[in-house]
């Protein structure tokens, strides 16, 4: 009894674990997994790198302080009218300062003031881990300690496949949604057409019925007037008036049938369209372009870059080239704004990658088809050669 109970417990646990793993590979779970991974990476990297960064920053700050002091002292001591000497002294000091700064820059210093802002804030680290696993690699923020570098390598080895998994997954979902929306829009279009046709049909029907009523009324009045008339008349009326009424009803039926047919036709065409619906390549490209343009406008407004520059940034980022020469938030002195921008940038990137994956997913079939076609052409050519 007890054993069985235990076993059932074990199986339940196993099932639970399985379900959890399965969940992590579902759409939502994968999303959460990637973001969680990046967050975890952010925490770790921040913990590893920020002390080092602070150290470097403090060194630079100290050097600057020293330079300022020297400048002041020279001003104080040296006759300020002796311009040449003053300048020489200060220039030497600035040169020294430059050497120190460059040493610091080689170790990751990027001009952020000690105590005011830092590269390795949480958001900065998050963006860093994101750039690692998406292989963008801006490089404006990079691990500088050995431990950080090792961690980066490990992080990338695990993270890049995870990211790819996530991208394909999310791209799939998004492609489905996109396709669905596209289909919906098409259906809407056809519905509109259908509605139009219906309306027209209804109008015709109404007119028809009007005609029919009229004829009937006519008939009746005729009959009423000729009630006293002979039976022959009746026959006549039947013949003369019955024909038009019959014709009217016929017309009515015919019209109805036609309307029905029209509807059917439209429906069929809609069905067919929906079944072999494939988003055209141009639309896919347009979506991507729209995203790029939207992003570039965003950064254009924020950063005061020119449009080309911000477009360049977006493009370089989304193709995962990631030069890092342009980077949002770098120009802002205010730390809070910079952090905000980093967050928005990272989400822009993440969503952009997903969108890119979606576009690949959508375009893939068409592209593959085209490539196969081309390949076929070439193959046939080669065959010809062989025959020759």
């Amino acid at each position: 009894m007890g054993r069985r109970h235990r076993r059932s417990k074990v199986t339940r646990v196993v099932n639970l674990v399985k379900r959890i793993i399965a969940f992590f590979f579902s759409h939502v779970g994968l999303c959460a997994l990637v973001i969680g991974y990046a967050l975890g990476g952010a925490i770790i990297f921040r913990a590893v790198e920020s002390p080092h960064e602070r150290e470097i920053q403090s060194i630079v700050t100290r050097a600057r302080q020293e330079t300022v002091n020297v400048a002041w002292n020279t001003t104080f001591r040296v006759n300020k009218l002796d311009r040449a000497q003053w300048e020489r002294t200060v220039h030497d000091q600035v040169k020294k300062f430059r050497v120190k700064t460059m040493w610091a820059i080689r170790r990751g210093y990027d001009g952020k003031e000690f105590g005011v802002s830092a590269q390795w804030t949480f958001t900065g680290a998050f963006l860093y881990s994101l750039t690692v696993i998406t292989t963008i690699g801006y490089g404006n923020t990079a691990a500088k300690t050995y431990f950080g570098k090792t961690l980066t390598i490990v992080f990338a080895i695990i993270g890049i496949p995870l990211m790819l998994l996530f991208l394909t997954n999310i791209g799939d979902v998004m492609a489905k949604i996109f396709r669905f929306l596209y289909a919906r829009s098409i259906r809407l279009k056809y519905k509109l057409i259908l509605w139009h046709k219906k309306r027209r049909a209804a109008k015709i029907r109404r007119a028809n019925s009007l005609v029919a009523k009229l004829t009937r009324a006519n008939n009746r009045s005729y009959l009423g007037s000729g009630r006293m008339g002979a039976g022959i008349r009746d026959d006549c009326s039947l013949e003369s008036l019955g024909v038009p009424s019959a014709a009217a009803s016929d017309v009515h039926e015919l019209l109805a049938a036609r309307v029905h047919l029209d509807q059917l036709e439209v429906k069929e065409s809609v069905e067919a369209q929906l079944q072999r619906i494939s988003v055209p390549l141009s639309l896919v490209l347009l979506t991507m372009l729209a995203y790029l343009v939207a992003g570039s406008i965003l950064f254009c407004l924020w950063e005061g870059w020119t449009f080309l520059d911000s477009f360049y940034f977006c493009y370089i980022s989304l193709t995962t080239i990631g030069f890092g020469d342009k980077f949002p938030g770098a120009s802002v002195g205010n730390d809070k704004d910079a952090q905000e921008k980093l967050v928005i940038t990272s989400f822009y990137l993440l969503f952009g990658m997903a969108l890119l994956a979606m576009c690949f997913n959508l375009a893939q079939e068409e592209v593959v088809n085209k490539v196969a076609w081309i390949a076929n052409k070439f193959r046939s050519k080669e065959d010809d050669e062989y025959d020759d």
Binding site: F25, T101, M102, G139, A156, D172, L308, D388
Partner: protein, 723 residues
């Protein structure tokens, strides 16, 4: 005249077609990418270099600017307050810092630049830049500063990235081929060597135990074991040799394509053979007494390969009658087939034959074919030959197998000799089975097949060399063979011969003296034989891999190790060059090859002397690394996908999508068209498809086969042979 024009036109069109094909081919694609990179380098250099000339070296000015600004401020003020001055100094210095950061990170500023500014946008720098663009590495240490440069970069990336992906996929394929070839040839040399050694040892043992065995001790042994066939043989490496028999089901996995290619191969051999048999024959003649003896002597023959011939002949001893028959037919042509069929012929061969020289090597192969062909003939022509044919049949298939197995044939043939009656039926069955199986054969890796074949050849040489030693002993014990001259074989052999020799003149110089059906059969036989062989090959590899479904597949670990080695090599290279420590080098290599490309460490930055070459080497390292990684993905892909699927199924009792997800992931990894395969078989198929040496060759083979069929219908034998 008109003809000339036409031919000229034809040639031109052909050339143009070839050009188009070439562009799409591996080399063409590589060249295209290289050209694209160089073009990009020129373009970006033209755009960016003038701009860089203007701003490069601005740090000196900036330094002076800071000082002057400060001085001006001080001189302007009536009253100098300390904190005011300090604040200003701070601000100025901060600004200066930012400039410095940008200059160092993105303009390649260096301490030495004050004296002689170095420019980033040299040709090599621009080349590296364009490569980092279309590989999506994007270091960013060299980046365009002008808006023109930026716009063009976007355009450049637009076309460059797909091109690069295409090229990578293409290169990865061929690299994978080369790599697998090298791996199986070089890396597995050791295991092969060991196997061989084992075999030799065993052979020696057997010899000791059966000193009387005239042909080959091994054979005798095998003969004995043959009777107990299935059970006894199984163990040891012997099993390897006779895989088709034991695991008939496996034969299904043979690849038609490989067969075909083999076929072609064989045919070539066939054609090229000239008078190959004579030599052997002559030698055989030297030992006129016993066929067995002859055989042995043959082994001793001029080339190691002649040994093969002996092997063939080693099968059932032949009667004098058949021999004569054979000799006559043989003379007319090098149609070895006949000679082979009658393994005994050699004994019969006259002086004339003796006199002629030939290429024994080819001949050997021929022999195999012929023999097999003859056997088939028997089956087909004399549908009900009964037991008499049996032994022959039996022996022949075995011999065929022998090739594949490299060594085993002896045993089998010997076995047939001993247990002719009992086994005839068996052998037949085998044959039939094989034939019937042929159509079902799936495509296997061509490349590997060929590889294997080459290996085989080498092996064969070695082995035969080894056997030679043993073989020489054979003659001492002539009695053995004589004791069991299987009479039934005579019947079988003559049938075959009659068909061939009877139809054609005795001294016809051309080989194809057989009638169409015969040749056909030979063909078939060859095919089946080949299939057998391939079968064995695959099985062998199977064994090697230890997994029945992972034939000739690279283990994942090898791929990973290769990448790691490459990274380590890069680390050491850059560490030596750039005075980085090794870890930095490894970090750089990893970041580069994963296309992350931070660009915080880039070679060519620290030194200006020779940094240009370094940039170029860096670019090459980069490109090759990308190709290597793509290759490794290609090699590991199937394995990984399979494993992922397995994992997914394990978990996926609940979740179905997972496996497909992971699969798609890897597909995505490789970027280009990867089909989803459902079962292992199909997967393998496609995999092999991709790896096959070239579709063209296989296609040609197919055509060959088709034409063969046609020819056969027409009864045009000759063409058949020539194709």
């Amino acid at each position: 005249m008109r003809d000339e024009v036409r031919s000229l036109c034809l040639r031109v069109t052909i050339i143009s077609k070839k050009l188009a094909g070439f562009v799409i081919s591996h080399v063409g694609l590589c060249a295209l990418v290289a050209l694209y990179a160089v073009l990009g380098a020129f373009m970006f250099r033209a755009i960016e270099y003038p701009a860089e000339m203007q701003f490069q070296g601005h740090i000196i000015n900036d330094t002076w600017l800071v000082v002057q600004k400060l001085y001006n401020y001080i001189s302007e003020r009536e009253v100098i307050e300390e904190h005011e001055v300090k604040r200003l100094a701070h601000e100025l210095l901060k600004d200066y810092e930012h400039k410095l950061v940008h200059a160092v990170n993105f303009e390649g500023y260096d301490e030495n630049d004050d004296f002689h500014p170095t420019y980033q946008w040299t040709f090599s720098g621009a080349l590296l830049y364009s490569i980092t663009v279309f590989t999506t590495i994007g270091y960013g240490h060299i980046c365009p500063k002008t808006s023109w440069g930026r716009g063009l970069t976007i355009l450049y990336a637009n076309f460059g990235i797909p091109l690069m992906l295409l090229c990578l996929a293409n290169i990865a394929e061929s690299l994978a081929q080369v790599f697998t070839f090298v791996y199986f040839k070089v890396c597995c040399a050791y295991c092969r060597w060991q196997q061989k050694r084992k075999r030799i040892r065993r052979a020696a043992l057997s010899f000791r135990f059966h000193p009387n065995a005239p042909v080959n001790i091994r054979r005798a042994q095998s003969a004995r074991s043959n009777q107990r066939y299935g059970a006894v043989r199984r163990h040891q490496s012997l099993t390897r040799r006779n895989p088709s028999v034991k695991y008939p089901a496996l034969s299904d996995t043979k690849s038609v394509r490989s067969l075909r290619s083999l076929n072609r191969y064989e045919q070539q051999k066939f054609d090229t053979q000239s008078l190959p048999g004579r030599r052997k024959i002559s030698q055989i003649r030297t030992m006129p007494n016993d066929s067995v003896l002859l055989r042995n002597t043959v082994r001793r023959g001029p080339s190691g390969r002649t040994a093969r011939y002996v092997d063939h002949s080693a099968s059932p001893p032949i009667d004098a009658d058949t021999m004569k028959f054979l000799s006559a037919s043989e003379r007319k042509n090098r149609l070895c087939a006949i000679s082979k069929c009658c393994q005994k012929q050699p004994t019969r061969r006259d002086a004339d034959l003796y006199g002629r020289g030939g290429l024994p090597v080819r001949y050997l192969n021929h022999n195999d074919d012929d023999r097999s062909a003859i056997i088939e003939m028997k089956q087909l022509n004399t549908p009900g030959p009964g037991n008499s044919l049996g032994p022959n049949v039996n022996s022949i298939p075995r011999t065929k197998q022998r090739r594949g197995k490299r060594t085993s044939p002896f045993e089998e043939s010997g076995g047939s000799m001993l247990s002719e009656g009992a086994q005839t039926s068996q052998g037949r069955v085998h044959d039939i089975e094989r034939d019937s199986r042929l159509p079902q054969i799936t495509v296997s890796d061509n490349e590997k097949e060929e590889q294997a074949r080459t290996e085989l050849d080498e092996w064969d040489d070695d082995e035969y060399g080894d056997e030679l030693k043993y073989g020489t002993h054979g003659p001492l014990h002539p009695g053995y063979t004589q004791t069991e001259p299987p009479t039934p074989q005579h019947h079988g052999v003559p049938v075959a011969i009659t068909s061939s020799s009877g139809s054609h003149g005795v001294f016809v110089p051309k080989q194809p003296s057989m009638d169409s059906s015969l040749s056909r059969r030979i063909r078939d036989e060859c095919r089946s034989y080949r299939s057998d062989r391939s079968d064995e090959m695959s099985i062998r590899s199977l064994r090697r891999a230890g997994n029945s479904y992972h034939r000739e597949k690279m283990p994942v670990s090898v791929g990973i190790i290769t990448v790691i080695l490459f990274i380590a090599g890069g680390a050491i290279l850059f560490a030596v060059w750039e005075d980085w420590n090794v870890f930095d080098g490894a970090y750089y290599s990893f970041i580069t090859l994963s296309t992350i490309g931070f660009g915080d460490i880039v070679p060519g930055q620290s030194l200006d002397e020779g940094s240009q070459e370094k940039l170029i080497v860096c670019a090459l390292y980069l490109l090759f690394g990308m190709a290597l990684i793509a290759m490794c993905f290609k090699l590991m892909q199937d394995d990984v996908v399979q494993k992922a699927r397995w994992l997914g199924q394990k978990l996926g009792i609940i979740v179905k999508e997972e496996s497909s997800d992971s699969e798609s992931e890897f597909d995505d990894d490789l970027v280009l068209e990867e089909d989803d395969e459902d079962d292992v078989l199909s997967e393998e198929k496609t995999d092999q498809d991709k790896r096959t040496v070239s579709s063209s060759s296989s296609k040609r083979d197919e055509e060959e086969m088709r034409s063969l069929a046609k020819v056969e219908k027409n009864g045009n034998v000759r063409r058949n042979w020539r194709i």
